[in-house]
């Protein structure tokens, strides 16, 4: 009887502790940005955005890794050049790896790739005196490549474990796509310290009225699995926009970094409903060629979309959210919003 009673008291205490810690977890997430250009050189409004929004870290794409069909090996591509060396925020190196790399390489190839990747990252860090607290790998892996990819991640983790100078006590993180959350059983969970859920690119790129970047209804089909995901998650939110170039309803190309401002009230284009435009004549613009009659569907994230994202993500992810990472820091993107919107978005989480 005694035991039982004390057990009950203990359980009660424990539940209080839980309740207490639940209510105290509500600190707002830090604001960070991805930087995805090939030259690090911040424009005035980009620097201002870092300050205004008290940005804690820049997730800096250092290079891509692609598979070179001719050389039959993996090579770095578009290695970042530094023009600005004074940065107000912490740097987290990010490497984007094409999934094809893990389809093509064998286990020895993966070992070499991990060596090369880490050495290049160390060189980059040393060249800028960066000592990074985190390393992030971005790869849209599939069930077929998970074994190779996860092996690669384990090798990187080993290297970080040796605490090299440019990565003292750094964590390893990996980007996670929505389908990888939903089908975690099939696609596996990467062996990393934490994941970053890319909360965008959820739909098909086509001419339908639904946005491929973010659609609240589409996102809901993925959210149920969120809380069960075995890794702690940060959230990457989209601030980019693009146009989808359509001809006779078929997608011709993506118009990167173009938004409504490029087409609204321009002589060569006329509006055709919300965020849609028609080319009135054949014309070059931004290096793209529009034929008379072509249609442009602009996909951009509006300020109120962030509210619905916050609502849905906090409803379905019950663990503390340490960080929001906005994709991506670019003057064209941030100029669509109020200057301190990112800081405000964080308060919704």
């Amino acid at each position: 009887m005694i035991f039982r009673k004390s057990g009950f008291v203990f359980a009660l205490l424990a539940s209080l502790v839980v309740l207490f810690s639940c209510s105290s977890k509500k600190t707002k997430p830090a604001v960070s940005f991805y930087y995805w250009r090939t030259e690090l050189s911040l424009k005035k409004n980009e620097k201002a955005a870092l300050k205004e929004n008290q940005v804690s870290a820049i997730y800096l794409r250092c290079f891509d890794i692609v598979y070179d069909e001719k050389l039959k090996r993996a090579v770095p591509h578009a290695i970042l050049r530094f023009r600005d060396t004074e940065l107000v925020a912490q740097i987290v190196p990010v490497v984007f790896i094409k999934n094809q790399v893990f389809l093509e390489l064998d286990s020895n190839g993966i070992d070499t790739l991990a060596e090369h990747t880490f050495l290049l990252l160390e060189q980059i860090n040393q060249s800028q005196s960066i000592s990074a607290k985190e390393l992030q790998i971005d790869c849209d892996w599939t069930q077929k490549t998970s074994e190779n990819y996860f092996h690669f991640l384990r090798l990187l983790k080993q290297k970080l474990g040796a605490k090299p100078r440019s990565f003292p006590a750094a964590k390893l993180s990996a980007t996670i796509r929505l389908h990888q959350i939903k089908y975690a059983g099939l696609q596996g969970v990467p062996p990393v310290d934490k994941g970053v859920l890319m909360f965008y690119n959820m739909g098909k790129i086509n001419g339908s009225p639904v946005s491929s970047v973010y659609d609240r209804n589409l996102s809901r089909s993925y959210l149920a699995a969120l809380n069960k995901y075995p890794l702690p998650l940060d959230f990457a939110l989209p601030v980019f926009a693009w146009g989808i170039h359509l001809r006779r309803g078929q997608v011709i190309e993506l118009l990167n970094k173009m938004d409504s401002r490029d087409f609204a009230n321009k002589n060569e284009f006329e509006a055709n409903g919300k965020s849609r435009f028609i080319a009135k004549q054949s014309v070059f613009k931004n290096g793209f060629y529009f034929k008379a009659g072509d249609e442009i569907k602009v996909e951009e994230i509006e300020a109120q979309d962030f509210e619905s994202m916050a609502e849905d993500l906090t409803e379905h992810y019950k663990r503390p959210i340490e960080q929001l990472i906005f994709y991506d820091l670019d003057s064209i993107n941030i100029s669509r919003y109020e200057k301190d919107i990112f800081k405000k978005v964080a308060t919704d989480f």
Binding site: K70, V75, P76, I79, L80, R81, H116, L119, L120, Q123, I124, S127, R248, E268, S282, V283, F284, K285, N286, G287, Y289, K291
Partner: protein, 747 residues
């Protein structure tokens, strides 16, 4: 999930790595080509200089990406020097020094007497002659060229940060060398030598990131040199320098000039051509100094973005330009792809042009130009207009254009074949029935098309069209209820469901005096009368008409030995075990049937009814998909290596899964059984057939496919219980887990 009878339904262990295979029923090989679904061959009319720009899935036709940058001019460089030196220097020597030798080696040759050099070098003609004026100039220039090679043709390690991100700058040595080369150019009296220094200096400025100087040096000195390939190579760097300066108008204009400099320049100039805004494009047009130049600009725009607009512009400027040909071919190839609907009304052809997606403005444009006849190849435009009208289903107009095209069509193979194909397609499209008259009318062309199927006319795109022709013809025959002729053009398995049709097909194939059209049908049909006969006796066997089957079978249709003993009847189905087990007697297909016939006769005569019935039951069981003798039914018609019931063509599935023959003979055996052991065995084997029938039902109602694990069949083992004292009953417990679990639940 628990396994049933210790095996899943899929008895695939011996077949895991195989896929079902059968006759390769004719379906054109063209559907995976990089040009997509096409019946229009650009090679027939367009100059091969424009080949990389033929419409394709790849960036460049038959090439993918252009990766020749470092090697592109190797042959020209060697040939130029050979002409200049006018000495009997071999190509090997020239190639060695120009393309392979290191800077150090060139330096040694200059600094040392020939006899001090290694024998293979010292003995070279050029080395021995190195003090003659031209050869000395050659080595002198070569020294500079090698010293400046590493930035123009760099070696990549890729993983070194400094190396990969080093700014575009020459080092001190290279800067010094550039200055010296400027001096060399100026002092060289020989223009051949001077131009080579000129090129080196332009290139050095470009790689140093000194774009303004690159441009001004070129402009100041270019007039001294002829407009040859080397001049165009220098011009490419100048165009690149403008591009780097974001002077897109000038850059694109110059790239268009490079495009016209020769075949080897076309891809690289095209690749670099990128108008950015309408304003710079208009400036580029304004920069052009002649109609020819303007034509090239529109031609490039046409390749990249807008064939129709470019054709209009060029046609106005210079209707006889050959730059129109490429754009027309691209326009037609694109229209073919865009207007193709995926399926045809009948059969499986994948070429099916539909009028709905055809660009009416393209149709109008091409027709108008063809009508006006101001172009250099009116026959190409007439043929193209005809083809677009064909896609638009206006077959009379198409025919009229083809007729005009015929008058001046070049007599060479490919253009003639192209016209003949399109005319044939138009004929067939306009036919609404197939009768003797139409057959005779088409015959010659069909035989011709069959004869070129061996690829004897290079590049000719006929495969998709031939499929479409066959599919149209099959459709017409089917509409007239002539299933037999329809089968020749498009095969359907269901044709073989009707024994009368099968018999008529065999008769047709056996006919020794076919008409010419019938002979053509025989030629295109992939099966022979022998294949049909084999199929027929297989079908009769499954109908338990063994004697009739034997009458049809002969040694030519026997087809080898069965891999296992077809008279086995085990508790567990295990093909691999049966195939590996030693066999005293091996059976062929016919051998099996003969033995079965003998057993049937024994039963009729009342001889050992139990054993004969049991063995016949086993044989019929093994002949089904569940048994160890699938080989019995594998043939040209049915196919082979069916890894699961869904891999069997649906027309034959029921026949090959059916358990009733086996059950019939097992029941006969049960009726004749005397001992409890015999009764136990027959009861069990009947249950096994019923299990299979349950699986068959799952397949029929769609709740099971070949890749999923089967559920538990509701077998009522209660009929076995009376035999629980038999050894066979013990054996079942031993081997059949499902039975054990049944007993566990039903104690």
């Amino acid at each position: 999930m628990r396994k049933i009878f210790s095996k899943k339904l899929l008895l695939i262990s011996s077949l895991v790595a195989t896929v079902s295979a059968g006759v390769l029923w004719a379906c054109g090989g063209g559907d995976w080509d990089e040009y997509g679904v096409s019946a229009y061959t650009p090679e027939a009319f367009v100059d091969s200089a424009y080949r990389p720009f033929f419409y394709s899935d790849m960036f460049y036709y038959e090439m993918g990406h252009d990766v020749q940058h470092i090697y592109r001019f190797n042959d020209e460089v060697v040939a130029d020097w050979k002409t200049y030196l006018k000495r009997p220097a071999s190509d090997t020597e020239l190639r060695y020094f120009l393309l392979t030798a290191s800077l150090g080696m060139v330096d040694s040759v200059i600094a040392n007497a020939a006899k001090k050099l290694p024998g293979n070098i010292g003995d070279m003609y050029l080395v021995k002659e190195k003090s003659s004026k031209k050869v000395a100039a050659f080595f002198h220039f070569l020294y500079y060229a090698k010293a400046n090679e590493n930035y123009a043709a760099p070696f990549h390690y890729y993983w070194d940060y400094q190396e990969e991100t080093a700014p575009l700058k020459l080092d001190e040595e290279q800067l010094k060398s550039r200055a010296e080369m400027e001096v060399e150019m100026k002092k060289a009296k020989d223009n051949f030598i001077a131009q080579r220094y000129f090129f080196q200096v332009v290139r050095a400025y470009f790689f140093d990131g000194e774009f303004a100087q690159c441009i001004s040096f070129y402009e100041t000195n270019k007039s001294r040199f002829p407009e040859n390939a080397l001049a165009a190579r220098a011009l490419s760097y100048v165009a690149g320098a403008y591009y780097k300066q974001k002077n897109y108008a000038q850059a694109n204009y110059l790239f268009s000039r490079v495009y016209d400099a020769g075949v080897k320049f076309k891809t690289v100039a095209h690749y670099s051509f990128h108008p950015q805004e309408e304003a710079d494009w208009q400036q580029t047009l304004a920069l052009s100094k002649s109609v020819d130049e303007k034509v090239t600009l529109w031609h490039l725009l046409g390749i990249y973005f807008d064939e129709e607009k470019a054709i209009r512009e060029i046609y106005t400027l210079q209707p006889k330009s050959d730059k129109l040909d490429l754009l027309l071919a691209r326009l037609i190839n694109k229209q073919e792809i865009e207007s193709n609907t995926e399926s045809t009304a009948y059969g499986g052809g994948n070429y099916s042009p539909g009028k709905d997606s055809l660009s009416k403005s393209a149709l109008k444009l091409v027709s108008e130009i063809a009508d006006a006849g101001k172009i250099s190849k009116p026959y190409m435009w007439q043929l193209s207009a005809g083809y677009l009208h064909f896609i638009n289903q206006d077959f009379n107009k198409a025919a009229a254009y083809y007729q005009k095209a015929q008058q001046a069509m070049p007599a060479t193979d490919l253009p003639q074949a192209q016209l003949r194909l399109l005319v044939l397609m138009n004929h067939i499209a306009g036919m609404n029935k197939m009768d003797k008259k139409n057959e005779d009318f088409l015959l010659k062309d069909l035989v011709w098309l069959q004869s070129v199927s061996d690829g004897s006319i290079p590049h000719f795109r006929f495969a998709n069209a031939y499929d479409w022709i066959k599919s149209r013809m099959a459709g017409l025959y089917a509409r007239q209820h002539d299933e037999l002729r329809s089968e020749f053009f498009v095969h359907r398995d269901s044709f073989y469901e009707n024994p009368l049709m099968v018999a008529s097909l065999k008769t047709f194939l056996l006919n020794k005096n076919p008409t010419a059209f019938e002979q053509y049908c025989k030629t295109i049909y992939p099966l022979s009368a022998r294949d049909i006969a084999e199929f027929q006796y297989i079908v009769l066997s499954y109908e338990d008409k063994i004697d009739a089957a034997l009458k049809l079978a002969d040694s030519t249709t026997d087809g080898g030995e069965l891999p296992g003993n077809p008279f086995n009847g085990n508790i567990k189905d295990c093909h691999d075990c049966d195939h590996a087990a030693p066999q005293k007697v091996k059976y062929t297909k016919i051998g099996l049937l003969q033995k079965m016939q003998e057993m049937k006769e024994n039963i009729t005569a009342g001889k050992d009814v139990y054993n004969n019935s049991l063995l016949l039951g086993n044989a019929f069981y093994n002949m089904t998909h569940y048994g160890n003798a699938r080989f019995f039914y594998e043939c040209a018609v049915i196919g082979s290596y069916h890894y699961a019931p869904d891999a069997i063509p649906s027309s034959f599935r029921k026949m090959l899964l059916n358990q009733s023959n086996a059950k019939h003979y097992y029941k006969k055996a049960l009726a004749a059984a005397v001992t409890a052991e015999q009764k136990a065995k027959m009861t069990y084997l009947i249950l096994k057939c019923e299990r299979n029938e349950w699986y068959n039902k799952q397949y029929e109602n769609g709740s099971l496919d070949g890749w999923s694990e089967a559920g538990m069949p509701p077998i009522n083992f209660v009929s076995l219980i009376p035999f629980k004292n038999t050894k066979y009953y013990e054996d079942i417990i031993e081997e059949c887990g499902y039975f054990r679990s049944y007993l566990g639940k039903n104690k």
